[in-house]
Amino acid sequence: MSKLLTLRQAVADLVPDNASVALGLQMEQMIPFAAGHEIIRQKKRGLTLIGPISDILFDQMIAAGCVKQVIAAWVGNVMMGSAYNFRRAAEQGGLKVVNLSNFTVALALQAAAMGVPFLPTRTALGSDVARDNDFFSQIDSPFEDKQSPGGPARLHAVRALNPDVTIVHLQRADHEGNAHCWGNFGVMIEAVRAAKRVIVVAEEVVDTEVIASDPNRTVIPGFLVNAVVECRFGAHPSPVQGYYKRDNAFFRQYHEQTKSKVDSETWLQRWVHSVADRKAYMNQLGGCRVEELAVKQHAYAAQTDFGY
């Protein structure tokens, strides 16, 4: 059963207005910018964005007016600092922000992935992150905790979070959605299992045999996936290990070019609205820049034998 769709179809079918959308889950790598831009072009409204750190994609979607709420640990430009549209929206009250920490984003998604209403943790005790935050509840361990002679351990219960849609960018998938990924995973695996629907955007759609040749490299089994999209360079300007480097200049330029609301609109016009799809975006970026980001030195993983 092929689940291959264009990015346009996948977003149109699977990301309705007011959905909660988890994306940017592998942290600074493999951020699904192409998918985010398609959501902007399709003028989705009232979204809740979920992700640990986001690195400028959330800022773009906020600038475009798609977003009602953010559930995240960090929203900004990792290399440069603040992201201006997020900051403006949060300061002026137009955006609801639920503050979590990286670990508690992971725990909330993992609780949902595991099918339990919460997971316990020792983090954020005494912090304001947990204050007036309905993702947190203080509980005591039902077991004697031998490490603390002061009685049972005090813990935070972190509430389960099920995204309506999880969007993942990665290196390669087959047409059923079985997908390989390498590099750091962040909270991607939990977010896929926690989600009601999953979109896999891959640099390459490959034969099923390629994926099946290495089942330990498979991070997503196809039966959890609703749509598979092939999209080269779909994570630019974030890096994809083995495919292209991080475009540091692009992040720097974004920082410089989006300080005001007007400038941000100009930026969106140029890089999102006026390009029909990722191909047009890449053309605008230019062959020279694309070439510069390409892999210069291959580094292949050691041979691994699944034979018997």
Binding site: Q26, M27, E28, Q29, P52, I53, A72, A73, W74, V75, G76, V78, M79, G81, S82, F86, R87, A90, E91, V97, N99, L100, S101, N102, F103, T104, A106, L107, Q110, T121, R122, T123, A124, L125, G126, S127, D128, V129, Q138, Q147, G150, A153, R154, L155, W182, G183, N184, F185, G186, V187, M188, I189, E190, S238, P239, Q241, K245, R246, F251, A299
Partner: protein, 263 residues
Amino acid sequence: MAITSTAISERRAQAYTPGELMVVSAAREIRDGEVVFVGMRLPLIAFVVAKKTHAPHAVGLFENGLIRSTPAPELIYTMADPANIKNATQCLDMLGVMSLLQSGRVHLGFLGAAEVDRFGNLNSTEVHGTNGMTRLPGSGGACDIASLAQRFVALLEHSKERLPERVSYVTSPGNGDCRGWRQRVGLPRGGPAAVITSKAVLRFGDDREAYLSSTHPGVEVEDVLQNTGWPLRVSEEVISTPEPSVEELKAIREYDKDGFWTK
């Protein structure tokens, strides 16, 4: 630290930037063989410098799920840069590294912050000032590192605004407001070991309040006190922050060639 600073003073360095001094001071907080939660920005370089100088057996954990026992071979701007992933010790997920942190296996974590207060509490979420609320990027993993590492070190610019008596939002718990506070709220261990600013290094006494431990070369004690938002106590043995060694500067400059982080 005593041994290290003696060794360093013998090979006193040439001119260096404030950023370089902060990175070197952070690097020296890493003891050899320790497991370090590295964090974003300046600590990315501090870890590399430590690995290349006095702490070759340190292990770095990164909150995206990465473990490295060798320094990244070239400058990285984020912890997920391809150079940080290639030849890593392990690429796993955030829950994996956070589990190691929560179970007490991390000796030291580094944190940036917009505000640090008298008891080493950190704010990187929102500052409530006279001009209303300023929204910052948020915790990231900072709250987790401050909660769960065996000790943590904060880095920031030194100014009265950024070192208030009490942070307006506790993103990352330090010592709360007194000795015993961490235990009372249920934190399993840890707390601030040092605050490295652009002017000085603060440390924490038995009562868990910050005191001035060293001023950076050329910075007067009075300057530090006037630019701190509470009556900062001064150690009787306040010293001058040891300067970077030639070796340490070389490690920084070979790495951050254009001074992106350290100029």
